[in-house]
């Protein structure tokens, strides 16, 4: 019996594992385990901020390791390791760094929030680190199975994080919704893997590509169905329309720092998987999947922009706006060129900072109980807390694509790739949604900077819509005059001072500076994104 077992183990070769190549992930997993172990062994409660501080250190170490890998890649070129299941190239290291940064910033935002809500504990950070590791595995995956493993690690941790605010009904609802739909999409993804394996005989992305280049498949129905299912599964993760329905509810219900983290990491990892699978494995079938991506991009852009217009809840608004952002990333992907990919990468990278900063503001304004997220709760924010309002205004302007912020070049980059690929309708559509986007971002900024009293803006917004509909350029003036009482209220009857925790203030300062500095001098990040695509195989 033992003999046969021994024989079996001899047959089953464990692959050589290059631990340095997966060091960033290992650091996160090790950190998570250490934190879990340490906190369960020690009986005394450490000083507040210890857990998040630990997470920041771990994330920084992981970024350092990713940076080392980036350096290695730029010197020695990309390589495959761990039995070709992991790819170490510019593309994957960019995402490693991105996810590490998101984890670092996210845990800083979470610190103040969790303490305010009385939820502080090591579990949050353990889950965050594990989900980060999952996202990282998705980005380095060179094998569909590894993509799936990463996807599940990421998602399961996020399901729990979404429900972390146990006293809020909405939080549990978000977790259940995310879990049910997420599990469903994972199943579809898995089925897609099975079909692709059936059609090509491999789950390794490079082997699939090689197989497809060497064989002409006469009836490729199974393969196409498999690809379609992979796109659906990953499309769910990135909240691309029509697979976006979960995201407004989940974004709204989850604890706000989780929303920011989720919006950054899940989206980044999802796109990493999507880009890698489509380009690495199915690059030769571009003509088959490109139209699908074009349609997805168009739908996502429109659904996001139109959906955001009618929201009165800021978290839902940002959820729809992040759907719109996903549409922009898909525009770069739909171009299916190097410029397109680097545009998408640039977009994702800059978007990470913007979205974490934005939800950082929202988590502060939400106050105790995480419930004040109506547009009206933002009225007069500039007067109550000029710093918060200024940073939020800046980040919203960046999201709308105002020049000299990172957001402008991001939009410019993907749209230019669409123009270069001569898909003019998509370019025009995306820029039109950017115009719509300007409307809802500005409305929010305006509310922050308007005096607390009066319905002036609401009236103005309604007037605006009717006028745009009515005006054919002939009218001398608008509809009728509207009596508006604009009260410049000097007294503030609103809620008391908003407290911005130091760690959150740090994140807001960092994201704000990043957004402006790299908006003024974008060269570094453009080259970064550009280099990352050159290395994709």
């Amino acid at each position: 019996m033992i003999h046969t077992l021994l024989l079996a183990t001899q047959v089953l070769h464990a692959p050589h594992v290059d631990y340095v190549a997966i060091l960033p992930e290992l650091i996160l997993i090790g950190g998570a385990l250490l934190l879990m172990l340490g906190s369960s062994l020690s009986s005394s409660r450490p000083a507040p901020g210890t857990w998040s501080g630990f997470t920041v250190v771990v994330a920084a170490a992981s970024i350092g390791a990713s940076w080392y890998l980036w350096d290695q890649v730029s010197r020695h070129g990309p390589q495959e390791t761990v039995h070709n299941a992991v790819a170490v190239d510019g593309f994957s290291t960019l995402f490693l760094i991105l996810i590490g940064v998101a984890l670092l910033l996210g845990s800083l935002v979470a610190d103040g929030y969790l303490r305010r809500e009385g939820l502080d504990g090591p579990e949050f950070y353990v889950l965050a680190m594990l989900s980060g590791a999952g996202g990282m595995f998705m980005s380095v995956a060179n094998d569909l199975i590894v993509v799936f493993l990463g996807l599940e690690t990421l998602s399961i941790a996020l399901y729990v994080l979404a429900g972390y605010h146990t006293r809020r009904k909405e939080s549990s609802e978000a977790a259940i919704k995310y879990f049910v739909l997420g599990a469903f999409s994972s199943a579809i993804f898995l089925y897609g893997i099975a079909l692709v394996y059936g059609a090509t005989g491999s789950t390794n992305l490079v082997s699939i590509a090689t197989y497809l280049s060497q064989n002409v498949i006469v009836t490729n129905g199974i393969l196409l169905a498999g690809i379609a299912m992979l796109i659906v599964g990953l499309g769910f993760k990135v909240a691309a329309a029509p697979f976006h329905n979960w995201s407004p509810d989940v974004y709204q219900g989850s604890p706000t720092p989780v929303t920011g983290y989720m919006a950054a990491v899940a989206k980044a990892a999802g796109f990493a998987g999507l880009l890698r699978v489509l380009f690495s494995a199915f690059g030769s079938m571009r003509t088959d999947w490109q139209p699908v991506i074009v349609v997805l991009a168009a739908l996502t852009l429109v659904v996001g922009a139109v959906g955001a217009m009618v929201q009165t809840d800021v978290k839902r608004l940002l959820a729809y706006s992040s759907i719109n952002h996903a549409g922009f990333v898909l525009v770069g992907l739909a171009a299916a060129t190097t410029a397109g990919i680097s545009g998408s990468l640039y977009y994702l990278f800059t978007y990470t900072f913007v979205v974490i900063g934005s939800f950082g503001v929202v988590s502060v304004v939400g106050r105790h109980g995480d419930g004040r997220h109506q547009l009206e709760d933002y009225r007069g924010l500039a007067r109550r807390n000029p710093f918060l309002a200024a940073v939020f205004a800046l980040l919203l302007l960046a999201q709308s694509g105002v020049p000299f912020t990172t957001g402008f070049l991001a939009k410019f980059y993907v749209i230019s790739s669409a123009v270069q690929a001569r898909s003019y309708p998509l370019a025009i559509l995306s820029i039109l949604t950017a115009v719509v986007g300007a409307y809802y971002y500005l409305r929010l900024i305006f509310i922050m900077y308007s005096s607390p009293a009066g319905e002036a803006e609401a009236v103005a917004v309604e007037l605006m819509i009717t006028d745009v509909a009515v005006s054919t350029g002939a009218g001398t003036t608008l509809v009728e005059e509207v009596d508006e009482v604009v009260v410049l209220a000097e007294t503030e009857a609103g809620p008391p001072e908003l407290e911005v925790p130091t760690s959150t203030a740090l994140v807001l300062t960092l994201t704000g500076l990043f957004t402006v500095a790299f908006g003024l001098v974008p060269g570094t990040i453009v080259n970064f994104a550009h280099q990352a695509t050159l290395l994709v195989h």
């Binding site: 000299f404 402008f408 230019s416 370019a427 025009i428 300007a438 305006f446 605006m464 001398t476 453009v526």
Partner: protein
Amino acid sequence: MSSVLAAASTIPFSTGTGGFGFPILPAIVVLPAIAAAAVALFVPRHRPDVAKVVGAVISVAVAGLAIAMAVRFRTGTPGYQFGVEHSWISAFGIQWKLGVDGISVFLVTVTAVVFPVAILGAPVTRDPKSYVGWMLLLEAACLGSFLALDVFLFFLFFELTLPPMYMLIGRWGGPKRSYAALKFFLYTFAGSALMLISLLVLAYLHDRTYGHLTFDVIALTTQQHLSTDTGILLFLGFAIAFAVKVPVFPFHTWLPDAQAEASTGGSIVLAAVMFNLGTYGLVRFCLEMFPRAAVALAPLMLTLGAVGIVYGFLVAVVQTDLKRMIAYTLVGDLGVIVVGLFAFTRQGLSGGVYQMVNHGVSMGAMFLLIGVVVDRFGTGDLRRMGGLQSNAPLMAALFMVVTLSVVGVPGLNGFIGEFLLLIGTFVTHRWWAVAATVGVILAALVFLWAYQQIFHGQPKERDRPAMADIGRRELLAVAPLVVLIVILGVYPRPFLDRINPSANRIIAHVSALTNQAEPAVATGARP
């Protein structure tokens, strides 16, 4: 096609500081931007006086630099001067490239002169710190737009004008300010969206033909591989953006709202600077980059201009709100300029440019005075005004000078520009010149009628206390503009010496390229 390629000659671009010892153009652009950042970051909210001083000093300093630049500007050369170029985003071939030629030189100067007028002459009581900050940022963006010689950079600055202008209307305006601000933003943003696509297509077509990606204005102007059909589409992309900004009928509907709701400072900048951005864009990008398309579409642009003239002035006549009335005359006024630009003659073009400069000077002064008038009466309603002359004779005199300048009385600036423009248009487009002349007459009607309503007769509301004449601060602010009105009117030569070579260059460029394609127009283009 190859002969056309050979015909395209390059445009001189001279670098160097022109004796200033420092790069003058970046200084003009960057100085207000840095000051804006400094005001936003370092001036405490409870010390608005500091912000006001910074705003005044910086904007006056920038005006000084711009005037010095215009004085040192070498006459008789058609190309760009004081040029600077640095690589900026190399992956896209985007440069930080600035330069000034005869078309832009006085637009820069007027812009730089108008901003201190707006900041000093029309201060606000509500949150002056932010007001000054936004004003300075807007100044940087406007100056940058006039000076940028990289299409991408131009677009950045052009877009960057929107958030500050939005804020200036939306926070410091009248009762319907938020509506007006949003309408302004969305109209212009939607317009420039099409421009972005066009400029990308332009750059990538250049890339496809010449093998390198560039957004350089000069390179894109001298490339002539575009077919007329492509050119027409791209022309439209740019033209719609500028037509919204100018605004050309029928894209004008945002203007009366924005102009009427904006605070005095905001409306000065809108009238004196923002519209020039649109007309400048039409010359620099539409005319110069797509000459064949411009010639092909000239009838359309001329017609829209002419309709705008008649429509603008006629609608102005029936307005009862002073600011709204003058706002509609702007539509007509700008229509006249558009007609001059698309007549494709040397006089028409230099007259058009001259008229843009006039427009900035006169309308800046006009809206400053209107601000004072509205302030004195406490209302913008013309029916409730009257009899101001007895109380405020100095204001009446200034208002009259500005009015006469706008309606084009000889001896003042409006006459020179309109005369050149009408002559230039008459040579090639007789009937449009007639339409423009009708507009000039209607303008006189509207402005003189407004003058009567405000200053003549008896005060309508007798219980109102005696109204003060123009204050010292306002006088100080409007004085430089009135001086410019007179100088531009009696001694136009130094101005035309600088404008003409560049205007001639553009007309020569257009006729050289359209000679082959459409000889009929080229005959007309020779003066």
